[in-house]
């Protein structure tokens, strides 16, 4: 099709050095062929996965029912199993915070995941005004600060509303980890690239629930498609009074908390 073989001249013709005319001819053919090839790729790009999945028809979000969370930590463990997150407590895509508001007005916040391995310290009843657990994860913002700061464009928001990291482009500079107001990112110690919750993207495009939602024993986490009126998340947003974390930052999170206490940051 190209008329000119793309491979270099055969070894015995080496003495016959390619002249300028031939070089230009080859170049013109090659470049136009490459352009055609990329045009073809560009068309294929319209459907990212092979099959009927169309990201334009989905917009994923998560609801969290604070009053149902029992702080068992199954979600954290399931996430680590599903996504090959290091088992050490410091690394997590999702975690659960215990808020204890004491009688003297102080607020103690601790990640229950960080206590793994040693006996859990449980607050004394007498000092507490109120106490509860808050599961946290990447908020999959509409205006993600992490995407803005990435110097190499390695992190981006997909059409279905999930913020992903291109681990092949990420240079591990940690700007995004600093920029995330929710502390949802960490540097993976093996790949040395930024890692974060993807809503288990590989599961949700196949119609499965994210691993944390799958194992939650009290259904404190509700996952769904904001563009589908039949989704459990849309029902959740109808019947609950919702709040998001740090709304003043205008990040427009897509993780919605029901009955969130004002002390939660």
């Amino acid at each position: 099709m190209l008329g000119v073989p793309l491979s270099a001249p055969a070894r015995e013709d080496v003495t016959e050095i390619m002249d300028r005319r031939n070089f230009l001819k080859n170049a013109v053919v090659f470049i136009s062929a490459a352009g055609l090839f990329r045009r073809f790729l560009g068309n294929a790009e319209a459907s990212p996965t092979n099959g009927p999945y169309n990201p334009a028809k989905h917009l994923y979000g998560m609801g969290i029912d604070i009053d149902k969370c029992i702080g068992c930590g199954l979600c954290v463990e399931a996430c680590k199993t599903e996504n090959n997150v290091p088992k050490e407590p410091f690394f997590c895509r999702t975690w659960v915070e215990r808020y204890v508001i004491k009688k003297d007005g102080t607020v103690a916040v601790e990640s229950i995941e960080a206590q793994k391995g040693k006996p859990k310290s449980r607050p004394e009843d007498g000092d507490i005004v109120r106490s509860f657990f808050v599961p946290k994860l990447c908020n999959q913002c509409e205006n993600p600060p992490c995407v803005q700061v990435c110097p190499v464009g390695a992190t981006f928001r997909t059409e279905d509303g999930v913020v992903l990291v291109d681990s092949k482009r990420c240079i591990g500079c940690r700007y995004c980890i600093q920029a995330c107001p929710y502390g949802a990112r960490y540097l993976h110690p093996e790949t040395r690239t930024a890692d974060k919750c993807t809503f288990c993207y590989h599961r949700v495009v196949k119609g499965l629930l994210p691993a944390c939602v799958e194992v939650c024993p009290t259904q404190a986490r509700i996952f769904g498609d904001l563009k589908s009126m039949a989704s459990r998340l849309v029902r959740f947003t109808r019947i609950n009074k919702l709040h998001v974390l740090k709304p003043h930052l205008n990040t427009e999170p897509k993780v919605y908390y029901a009955d969130l206490d004002g002390e939660v940051r």
């Binding site: 790729l41 790009e45 399931a78 996504n83 449980r122 981006f156 993207y201 495009v205 024993p217």
Partner: protein
């Protein structure tokens, strides 16, 4: 005297060079290099494909019931109906692909207490125990079926709740009389003890069966029902769980 400061010649020349470099870079970036070179779609596309191709560890709750019909049916009607199988048994995609690779069967106390230990931060009403006091050492599954957990519905004896009465009665003359001889206990009392209560003897003749003048029992103190405290039920004056000898 006040002539304008003269720009040195080398600065002029240097600025020309810098201007040429800047112009060159701008021209290269915006006019010479094709814009598709900066198109992010392709590496984003490959990222999405890499992400989608990742392995699944959790098979999902819907699939387990296809084979484990009995457990799924049992679980579906019980308090644990919202639990995913894989929450307790662990990720099971490998078991789906190769059924001989069995998922874990947690038998000790560690897993259950991770949810059911008393914790002040847990929502009110969530069933919680103190694992140090609650049947220590025994595995939870000896009493509770994890697929359909219920509070042990029948305390085997009344003393499970009414320990104080039981202790008093054991040293009293009524020690050998069973609770059910005097109280009829509806089954529901063991499930909702405060709303359904056992009966108490409501006639004087009930006590008179042993303590009446004409009864056949020889070991019980006898009184004449017709003359003794006629307006009152016996237990309004005598505490029947430890009746005094008067």
């Amino acid at each position: 005297m006040a002539s304008p400061p003269k720009i040195p010649e080398q600065i002029k020349r240097l600025s020309v060079v810098i201007a040429v470099i800047v112009a060159g870079v701008v021209a290269l970036r915006y006019f010479i290099l094709p814009s598709s070179l900066f198109d992010t779609r392709f590496h984003r596309e490959s990222t999405v494909q890499r992400e989608v191709a990742k392995n699944i560890a959790f098979a999902g709750a819907m699939i387990c019931g296809n084979c484990h019909v009995d457990q799924a049916a049992k679980k579906a009607s019980g308090y644990h109906k919202t639990l995913s199988c894989e929450g307790c048994h662990g990720a099971a995609q490998t078991h789906i692909e190769n059924p001989s690779a069995k998922p874990a069967t947690p038998k000790g106390r560690e897993l259950c207490v991770s949810c059911h230990t008393y914790d002040a931060s847990r929502p009110t009403g969530f069933p919680q125990v103190n694992p140090v006091l609650h049947n220590p050492v025994k595995a939870c599954v000896t009493c509770h079926n994890p697929h359909d957990p219920v509070p042990l519905e029948t305390p085997r004896e009344c003393s499970a709740c009414h320990a104080q009465i039981a202790n008093i009665k054991t040293v009293s003359p009524h020690a050998l009389i069973g609770c059910a001889s005097c109280h009829s206990v509806p089954v529901k009392h063991k499930i909702t003890p405060r709303s359904v209560r056992p009966t108490k003897p409501d006639t004087r003749e009930f006590c008179g069966k042993c303590h009446g003048k004409d009864s056949g029992r020889t070991d019980a103190p006898k009184i004449d029902l017709a003359t003794h405290g006629e307006r009152f039920l016996c237990w309004e004056c005598h505490y029947p769980h430890r009746p005094e000898r008067m």
